[in-house]
Amino acid sequence: MSVAQEVYSQLAVHNSKDLLRFITCGNVDDGKSTLIGRLLLEAGAIYDDQIAVLQSDSNKYGTTGGRIDTALLLDGLEDERQQGITIDVAYRYFTTQRRKFILADSPGHEQFTRNMATAASTADVAIVLIDVTKGVSVQTRRHAYIATLLGVKQIVLAVNKMDLVQYQSEVFQRIVDEFRQFATALGGVDVYAIPLSALEGDNVTVLSRNMPWYQGETLLGYLDHVRIEDRLSQASLRLPIQRVTRPDANFRGFSGTICSGQLQCGDEVVVLPARSKAKIKSIVTMNGELNRAEAHDAITVTLDRELNLARGDMLVPRDAEPRITTEFQATIVWMSEQPLVIEKRYWLKHTTRKTPCEIKTLHHRTDVNSLARLSAPVLRLNEIGFCTLHTTEPIVCDDYQTNRTTGSFILVDRITHETVAAGLIAGDAESNQPGYWSSASALTHAKRQQSLVRMEDREAQYGQKPGTILITGLSSSGKTTVALHLEQKLFEAGKIVVVLDGQWLRMGISRDLAFSAEERSENLRRGAEIAKMLNDSGQICIAAFVAPSAWVRQRTRELIGGDRFLHIHLSTHVEVCRQRDSTGQYQAADRGEIQNFPGVTYSYEAPDDADLYFDTSMQSPEAIAEDVYQRLTSKWF
């Protein structure tokens, strides 16, 4: 073969290679830089002269006692090299026979969460590094959370420093099991675990002889073979208009890069947000006119009718429209040293559209280490929160899980022009709320058989109309005490009544639940279902639950039925509750033994829509129960 032919055939191979973008998450101490340096070195990405420089640098700055310190291949900024830490995101490139790679190396410290989020935003795979002698740490969980939050669907758990534990499989397995258990909370992420030693070279690019029990791939092997799913190709067409091209009066073209989906001449499209309809007349590119174009193609289209499109508009198919909205919810990663200010105006940039926007409500902040949802008046640098935003102009969007491009946005400060936040648009409000409230029963064809006893007959026989009285409030606000007094009064009046106390449920049917937001929601859901069953059988139910979430209380009301529901809220001040601390929980929460404790480490969304309000520091529980009893008598029976 001539040189030219050889070159063309090699280039054909090079052209047909797909591209994998991955990030590395870990700390310098875990050996991350050593690992990546070795990966690059062994994948042939380092030239001879660079190796020579590496040798001399290793003598000057290296931490491996004279041997080549592969970690030095990575640190690029002077400050870092002298301090030995990484402070930004670095992009490295290498290829193998099969694939091209872009590696984004991001810092591991919590103070660089924004850098990791940036790197993860375009990554397909995340390598989460663990030091085998330290096991699954807070940092490991944080890295996995950030990566999956930003849309990474595949995690490689790289368990490093196996040489320090004599390459024992039990140690490795224990760590993998623990991580997999944690990863179930991350929602649909694939985990591949590899035991390795970056220092000694085991399983980085060469299979380790020290670990014959490991039957999987090396790190490079995994990266080479892992299936890359281009989800954007498969999603619906989204073409945001970047520019209107009018070289003369005869040609009006709309230029942009297809975010997702495909486009063909003749396709019917809808222009949003205006909702005009048109057909694609032609697709014009530098390579001439095309019949069809795909995701990631930069094209110019002409339409079959005269429409006035502008930058910021979007072309979508007729049968798969995105949301058009000025109000939506999103997870945001705060990237500025200036904290978030509610109702301050920012610029929002979404695909090719810019609009002023405000953050109306900050619902909660998610602690990146524990994943707990905490109440937050502000969001600071590197914090992640969930909020409701309001834009001046409507944006045309999908939720982030469905489409990373039309589901993402950035917020820019109007004065400093800093990018203050990265945003991930949430799905339907429902899908972000915890628990099984909206899930369908596993019995898909179940039809409920009606009781042979009619409700009117039950009411007549028992002499009462059934219903649920929900008493909410902080722990030690007196809910149970009020409930018990009320039960006694109703009983003495000849009513059939049952008390459902949130705490008691946790000793029986809800023994399996702890105190995260999801679990609290689930406890109340179970209570609500039981209350409903009691009501259906003609009984009165008094339910006492902390119920810190407004959304969950609303679902409870809907489940039981508004006409059978009375919500009483005890607004006793938290300091009074704390003083009483009848169950010792406040102390336990202060000691850190109980996580997510409303009033201490968790926000309590006080209701503004309850039917009755009482304060047990002003009235005795018995007096409150009497008050409620009187109202019930007039209202229900």
């Binding site: 040189v3 030219a4 050889e6 070159v7 063309y8 090699q10 280039l11 090079h14 052209n15 030239y47 001879d48 002269d49 660079q50 640098d57 690029g76 900024l77 002077e78 090299r81 402070i87 930004d88 995101v89 670095a90 992009y91 490295r92 490139y93 290829t95 091209k100 872009i102 924004r114 850098n115 989020a117 940036t118 935003s121 375009t122 890069t257 990237m335 610029w347 940039k349 979404h350 990373r404 491009t405 993402s408 946005f409 950035i410 820019v412 022009h417 800093e418 990018t419 990265a422």
Partner: protein, 231 residues
């Protein structure tokens, strides 16, 4: 290079080519032999900054790639420079997805590097694919060279100062990267066509900027230059 620029950019493409010189530097005879590292600063960095300011450009597009050099590995695609064209690595905007924050204040300017994620091979492959005309110095030819240390320096004209016992010999060489004359080293090569160049690249063991003496003056030389306002 200049001849190619005149022929291709100015005449063939009809672009408005603004050639800016540091007249003072020329008059004072600033050169790399007498002035060492200051040469690049005086003859490239400073006039670049002055020209950008004088013409009030909002953005300057460059061909810098992240795989070229360590300090470029962390460069953004949109790199913001202050009034003095200086680059502060700690003050750049995060670039997520394909969303670029292009808001610019008065006095600020932007350096844009659209092919940041291209590798050297990608570039040459594209040149081959699109048949893009290139400066003839990239092709191998017999040229008079002298050996200085590890570098082969082409003796093009009297700007190259020869040592006492130095005398140029003819070698078939080409340039892999074009920096300043005469401080860019050439390499021995037989690559006379683009296909030959790509072939060499696929088999080379030396990095692209190896011949660029400016990178070697001190560690992080490029980083210092960028902080000063260079590309």
């Amino acid at each position: 290079m200049i001849e190619f620029r005149e022929r291709y950019a100015r005449q063939e493409l009809g672009l408005n080519v603004i050639a800016y010189h540091n007249e003072d530097g020329v008059r004072d005879g600033i050169n790399p032999f007498d002035h060492g590292a200051s040469y690049t600063d005086i003859m490239r960095t400073q006039p670049l900054k002055r020209a950008l300011t004088q013409f009030g450009f909002d953005a300057a597009i460059g061909g810098g790639r992240r795989d070229e050099e360590k300090s470029r590995a962390k460069e953004r695609i949109f790199s913001f420079r202050d009034r003095n064209h200086r680059w502060d690595p700690r003050n750049q905007r995060p670039e997520l997805w394909s969303l670029y924050n292009t808001w610019k204040a008065t006095g600020e300017s932007i350096r844009v590097f659209p092919i940041s994620n291209w590798t050297e091979l990608d570039v040459w492959q594209y040149i081959l694919q699109e048949r893009i005309p290139i400066v003839p110095l990239y092709f191998a030819k017999d040229r008079p060279v002298v050996r200085r240390g590890n570098d082969l320096i082409v003796v093009d004209d009297e700007r190259m100062r020869l040592e006492q016992n130095e005398s140029p010999v003819n070698m078939k060489v080409r340039f892999r990267t074009l920096g300043c004359y005469p401080v860019t080293g050439a390499t021995e090569s037989d690559a006379e066509t683009i296909e030959d160049i790509v072939h060499e690249m696929l088999t080379t063991r030396c990095s692209e900027r190896q011949g660029r003496a400016v990178d070697r003056e001190e560690a992080a030389a490029m980083e210092r230059k960028k902080k000063d306002g260079y590309f």
